[in-house]
């Protein structure tokens, strides 16, 4: 009967959508390093730990008041919930039951409940005895009244911080990776301390004026000396004792040097891994970034503009020198070949990358990267550089959305200089987005103060900008003059004063950066307040 009930419960849990959802949520909250809510939870827990320890410190000298007791209870209950939840998500009980059931059915053996229970217990005990669970438990236990003696162990709560901080986890990871060396060192140090403390005990115990009376004194002295701290509260007086001291100091220096070098070596070994981890975690967190392939002259300029405008991007360059330069500038960099599928996948072309820029100096490579990116992600926006005219077509064929030709722009610009040197200056100013005169596009947001106004009413000149034209997809303007086709929209050059602005139209303005930004903020503000009113 009990067996059947267990099985029934196990299967119903397995099929329960809600159970899975809840478990998934708890996993995201507590364990999943990629989830978005975990960092908030971690910060919350760190605050709890710190404040509870602070109260503990406060109570060393002061009387505890009611509020601190309430707070303590609150903290402990949160800790307890966390401990139990972690135990819950550590393994799936119903899996064990079902697996056992299926196995026994297959083998024709009777289903044994005790076996299953034993297995479940074994599983959960593995959790209970895992180091982090022990620390968690130690953080909770001292608050239990009969165990008040263990109050000091509340300090163990600080160890709980280990769980929530990645950098500390990193450090423990390093220590773990050097486990063998550190163990060897610890054994060697243990021997040294043992020999030295025995020797000093033998020499000093008998001599007149000797301060070492117990073996514990000797042990304490050995530790102080081997670490080269040397308080000087216990000093050897006999010749033999001094000899032991000298030997211990010299070997202590060696031990320290050895220890430091192990840690440093481990750090430098892990450094490249951390770099990669950083790339990985950035990729996983962000959803709207740019992959910049090629860190030559053009790539560097683009990277600078992107970082100035606080856009997220990843630099990929197979050239070590270029990659080093990018790392030096603090950009997230992959020193790999962008024409390989694995590199682009690693850079997250299918997770949140929005645009790929192929700006290497070699058209062949640009075509290849474009093709690879398009193959991997049919929807991504690809902007590619073409150095030669004949390659423009190939790049479009390979799947580029936009193509930029540096030499052809330069040529066009230079030719403009013949006969029109002033216009040339204006163009260069506009192309370089000078602060005192730039062309910018401002979209008219829904229900902002400009929507529905005619151009005469809008009076854009009061913002010290002049309207070059309007880009719009709306059919309302179809009968207007000066219409130029622009993909699936139209550009209306120099619109008449009676031209009515609609939601979604884009104003093309000439003005100083200052005035354009000001107008943009006005549009955004009025849009937001209109939305608030609607709500």
């Amino acid at each position: 009967m009990l067996t059947r009930l267990t099985l029934y419960l196990a299967y119903s849990v397995k099929t329960s959508e809600r159970h899975h959802r809840n478990k998934r949520f708890c996993y995201d909250l507590l364990e999943n390093p990629k989830s978005k809510i975990k960092p908030y939870f971690d910060i919350f827990m760190i605050t709890l730990v710190m404040s509870s320890v602070f109260i503990l410190i406060h109570e060393v000298k002061n009387e505890s008041n009611l509020w601190s007791i309430y707070f303590e209870n609150f903290v402990v209950s949160i800790f307890l919930c966390e401990y139990l939840l972690r135990g819950w998500i550590y393994s799936d009980m119903h899996h064990i039951i079902i697996e056992h059931h299926e196995n026994t059915k297959y083998l024709g053996q009777p289903f044994s409940l005790t076996k299953v229970i034993r297995q479940i217990l074994k599983n959960k005990l593995a959790y209970i005895f895992s180091p982090s669970a022990i620390i968690d438990l130690l953080a909770i236990l001292p608050s239990y009244r009969p165990l008040r003696i263990l109050r000091v162990f509340l300090i163990f709560r600080l160890f709980k911080l280990l769980r929530y901080s990645q950098s500390i986890q990193m450090f423990t990871g390093i220590l773990k990776s050097k486990q063998f060396e550190l163990t060897t060192l610890a054994i060697f140090m243990g021997f040294l301390i043992f020999i030295a403390s025995t020797a000093i005990y033998i020499f000093e115990h008998q001599s007149v004026g000797g301060q070492i009376n117990t073996l514990y004194d000797a042990f304490y002295w050995a530790i102080v000396t081997i670490s080269t701290v040397g308080y000087g509260d216990i000093t050897p007086v006999s010749t033999g004792g001094r000899f032991v001291t000298s030997a211990l100091i010299i070997s202590g220096l060696g031990v320290l040097a050895f220890f430091t070098s192990i840690i440093v070596a481990a750090f430098s070994e892990k450094m490249s891994e951390f770099q990669e981890d950083r790339v990985k975690s950035t990729i996983e967190k962000s959803t709207n970034y740019i992959i910049l392939c090629g860190f030559g002259r053009v790539g560097q300029e683009i990277a600078q503009q992107l970082s100035e405008n606080k856009k997220e991007f990843i630099v990929i360059d197979p050239d070590k020198q270029h990659a080093d330069l990018a790392i030096q500038k603090g950009y997230i960099t992959l020193n790999e070949d962008a024409s390989k599928n694995s590199t682009l996948l690693h850079a997250g072309i299918n997770h949140g990358a929005k645009t790929v820029l192929c700006v290497t100096g070699d058209d062949v490579i640009n075509v290849y990267i474009t093709l690879t990116s398009r193959h991997l992600n049919p929807d991504i926006n690809i902007i590619s550089r073409a150095n030669r005219d004949d390659n423009v077509k190939k790049l479009y064929q390979a799947g580029a959305n936009h193509i930029v030709q540096p030499f052809s722009i330069a040529g066009l610009l230079a030719s403009e200089h013949i006969g029109q040197p002033v216009a040339f200056d204006a163009i260069q100013g506009i192309l370089h987005q000078q602060k005192d005169g730039q062309i910018d596009a401002l979209p008219i947001l829904k229900k902002c103060f400009l929507a529905g106004l005619t151009i005469e009413q809008a009076q854009l000149s009061q913002y010290k900008t002049s309207l070059l034209g309007v880009i719009s997809a709306s059919p309302n303007h179809e009968k207007r003059r000066n219409r130029y086709k622009l993909r699936n929209q139209h550009f209306y050059f120099n619109p008449e004063p009676s031209f009515i602005l609609h939601d979604g139209d884009i104003l093309v303005l000439l003005g100083r950066q200052l005035s354009i930004e000001f107008l943009q903020s006005l549009i955004e503000k009025s849009h937001l307040s209109a939305r608030k009113e609607d709500l």
Partner: protein
């Protein structure tokens, strides 16, 4: 204007577009390069080309630096070559209009010091454009068409001639938008120097003979405007 010749140093991928644009504008050009093969190639393409060593001042004088040449484009591949050429040409002709390509930002100053009138940094323009494509895709299309005249929207600069109806008009009373269907980008007010002032309504400029208007509009409207103010009949 028709007598003046434009010389382009360097027949390479950097200068192809420039040459094709200038050919379109029917400017008199001469291609110069030190590589005989490239010169032959240029001649095969129907261009006037001449092999010469840019390091020899005599050669430069022979092609017309100091006499017939009015504009010189330095489109050589290395900054050092462009600087050298600029320097030589400047010492031969103080009035020559020299426009040079620059590869590294640190060469900008050197080129200006050597006497270049204008410099063009293709990489910087390229990166600006890529960035623009990312942040303002609509604008890029527009600039492409407007700035480089790929659609029937052109930039033109108009010097105010003598006895023009625009003489002694202020920019505010110009009404260029309504009357001529043109967009005024900026003004060079000779009283204030050579600087281009963008027409943003911050300042009112009194137009005189010799001032320059930079306008944007369709071919027809620009032509019409030129007729009105008396540049062409």
């Amino acid at each position: 204007m028709s007598d003046s010749t434009t010389a382009i140093f360097g027949y390479n991928s950097l200068s192809f577009e420039l040459i094709s644009q200038l050919v379109k504008k029917q400017t008199k050009i001469i291609i110069l390069d030190s590589d005989l093969e490239k010169i032959e190639l240029a001649q095969k393409n129907g261009l006037i080309a001449c092999q010469l060593d840019y390091r020899q001042d005599d050669d430069l004088i022979e092609v017309g630096v100091g006499s017939t040449l009015t504009t010189l484009f330095c489109f050589l591949e290395h900054d050092s070559e462009n600087v050298f050429l600029t320097l030589s040409a400047r010492s031969l002709d103080k009035k020559l209009n020299i426009i040079s390509l620059v590869n590294h930002p640190e060469s900008e100053e050197k080129l200006f010091a050597a006497g270049a009138n204008r410099i063009i940094d293709p990489y910087k323009i390229c990166s600006n454009k890529v960035y623009q494509l990312l942040s303002k895709p609509h604008l890029t299309w527009l600039l492409d068409h407007v700035v480089f005249g790929r659609a029937d929207l052109n930039m033109a600069e108009i010097t105010i001639p003598e006895n023009s109806i625009l003489d002694k008009t202020s920019t505010q009373n110009l009404c260029i938008h309504e009357k001529y269907n043109l967009f005024l980008i900026g003004v060079v007010d000779k009283e204030l120097g050579e600087k281009l002032y963008f027409a943003l309504g911050e300042q009112d400029h009194m137009l005189d003979v010799g001032d320059i208007l930079v306008i944007l509009g369709s071919h027809r409207d620009i032509k019409h405007f030129k007729k009105e103010i008396g540049i062409i009949n």
